[in-house]
Amino acid sequence: MSEPTGGRGSGAEVQHGGSPGRSRGSSRGGDRVMVPEADFTSYYGRPIVKAAPWERDIAYYLFTGGVAAGSSLLAGGADLTDRPGLRRAGRIGSLVALLLSVVALVHDLGKPSRFLNMLRVVKLTSPMSVGTWILSLHAPFAGLASAAELVGMLPARWQRGPVRLLLRLGRPAGLVGAVTAPPLAAYTAVLLSDTATPAWHSAYEELPFVFCGSAAAASGGWAMATAPVAEAGPARAFAVGGAAVELLMAHRMESSMGLSAETLHTGKAGTLIRASKVLTAAGAAGALLGGRSRLLSVVSGTALMAGSLCTRLGVYEAGLASANDPKYTVVPQRERVERGEQVRYQG
């Protein structure tokens, strides 16, 4: 008696679709990408998933965590190969970065006791819990090594008693700090990927490499800028290698992410990612060519650090943009359903 109503077709006519704020970035004129608007249905264009309610603190933490991890590695290597200048730069870099990390984390949580509250459970399904434990294992040792470094800078007559013990603990603590550093650099990628935020989740294959490369570039850059140039050879190599991995894997990531890769090219995130590529490439080139020039070391080291910071901020902003526009949630899922590839449990 009655005809079936046309499901998708009738929905599209109502124009519930559309992405709020698609006009953003149109003022940029030159590089406006002329792709057709995605055709999809949504509930008055409102977001489906919720964006992470984090302040920018978390983006800064991604950066300082990377610098802390890379610096601990460089300090450990410098200690073993007898490069005191590089060791000092690494340990102090790690201390400063760790302190800033803790400040950023505690500021985001609201009060220090809330960090302790995280230590009431160990939960492998929560990258934030795993990360809290990684940080709790790494930070005391890296901090101890940095304290030994600071004590070593004191006048000789103060270096006695317990202070001498601290000096002796510097090396073993620094080595434990170095070994626990890579998980610190890598887990933040899992932290972002293990969310329903489209741009972060779809990047999970490459994001750890981008972040680890970025950590190497930034910490190498810090050491290039602060250590004696004669000793900074390994820092330059580390930075150039890290920058190469970061640029390469970021490129791969953008081509494997699907639709949400768009958020890395548009708006605030687009600007940051473009800046990060220019800064990282220029910094790496400076590290390769500048060699033992003090001035070039400082300039390219700073560029590498700024590039890494822009990467972190860019990935962070892209995630928020992808969560706030229902297009990035609906379109890939709808395409999957229409291809008949709906996610199912395979026995």
């Binding site: 609201g110 459970v121 709808r334 449990y345």
Partner: protein
């Protein structure tokens, strides 16, 4: 308990969480074909659970001014205005016989309403629960997901992890002790332990919101869809009832009259922890590469 299906696949969530002799899994079946958009569920939920009001906003989108599911909105009624399907289909609403109408078929309104009361899905594999770093979220004996607000840190990880955008951190009103704490539907845990129905289901005047054992609700839902299909409502479909879908099926299932995204629901949600082993593997590889890279940087001649 850790099993093969702990991260993905069909299972009994209460048993997986370690409960022995747990009662049958409880959930909602929301039949949107009989929802009249009265918002009794929204109000009953706020009253019972002491959920503060949202900031009053006129959104200008249809009659929906309660916005979305969030920390201050544990039930949310969506109002979707769309072109009418003609002729109108009898959905089997209770009535005392059809009123006499002298309105010509062509003169009837050219639009119709879809209304749907949305709620936390109480997923079999709940991303919010998996990622919570403090253990504040827990699985109840009824197979539902509940937040303990005295333990919650307000870290907000659950907010970003939920594939449905349900849970949120409470932003206001000022002075509320739970500001900054993650909040969502508890399926009225306190009423369930007392053998009562959740407040929204109790308040629903059309039985659009039905509460009960998930298994039984699923049968009821299937029967209702069949009935609607027989009557020619071919767009009727179930959402969240499939235990083999991306979240292992949900405790709250919906009968929808259009595609899920029309109602603001994701068409094919997947719990992110499904890919977690792979994520940790990739991170392990990247970390190892970083360690080796650092070591290689020092393999060169002395300064």
């Amino acid at each position: 308990m850790i099993g093969r299906k702990s991260l993905f696949g069909p299972l009994d969530p209460a048993a997986d969480a370690g409960y022995t002799d747990a009662p049958k899994r409880k959930g909602f079946f929301t039949d949107t074909s009989v929802c009249i958009g009265c918002k009794a569920c929204e109000v009953a939920c706020k009253e019972w659970n002491d959920v503060p009001e949202n900031a009053f906003e006129m959104l200008g989108t249809s009659y929906d001014n309660s916005h979305s599911l969030n920390a201050n909105q544990w039930r949310h009624v969506a109002f979707i205005e769309r072109p009418a399907s003609k002729p109108a289909v009898d959905l089997g609403m209770p009535s005392v016989g059809a009123p006499v109408s002298d309105v010509d078929e062509d003169d009837k309104p050219d639009f119709q309403w879809l209304m749907s009361s949305d709620v936390c899905k109480h997923c079999t594999h709940a991303a919010c629960l998996d990622v919570c770093p403090t253990g504040s979220l827990f699985r109840s004996e009824f197979g539902t997901v509940v937040v303990q607000d005295d333990i919650c840190n307000g870290c907000g990880y659950c907010v970003a992890a939920c594939p449905y955008g349900v849970i949120d951190r409470r932003r206001g009103p000022e002075g509320d002790p739970k500001v900054g704490i993650a909040q969502k539907c508890t399926l009225c845990y306190d009423r369930l332990t007392d053998g009562q129905r959740p407040a929204c289901a109790a308040a629903c005047p059309t039985e659009s919101i039905q509460y009960g054992d998930v298994e039984e609700l699923r049968e009821r839902a299937n029967a209702r869809v069949e009935l609607l299909h027989e009557r020619g409502v071919m767009d009727a479909r179930l959402y969240g009832n499939d235990p083999e879908d991306g979240v292992g099926g949900t405790g709250a299932m919906f009968l929808l009259l259009d595609e899920p995204e029309v109602y603001g629901l994701p068409p094919d949600p997947v719990v992110t922890t499904k890919d977690l082993p792979r994520m940790f593997t990739r991170a392990g590889m990247a970390g190892t590469a970083l360690l080796i890279g650092a070591a290689l940087s020092f393999v060169r001649r002395r300064p």
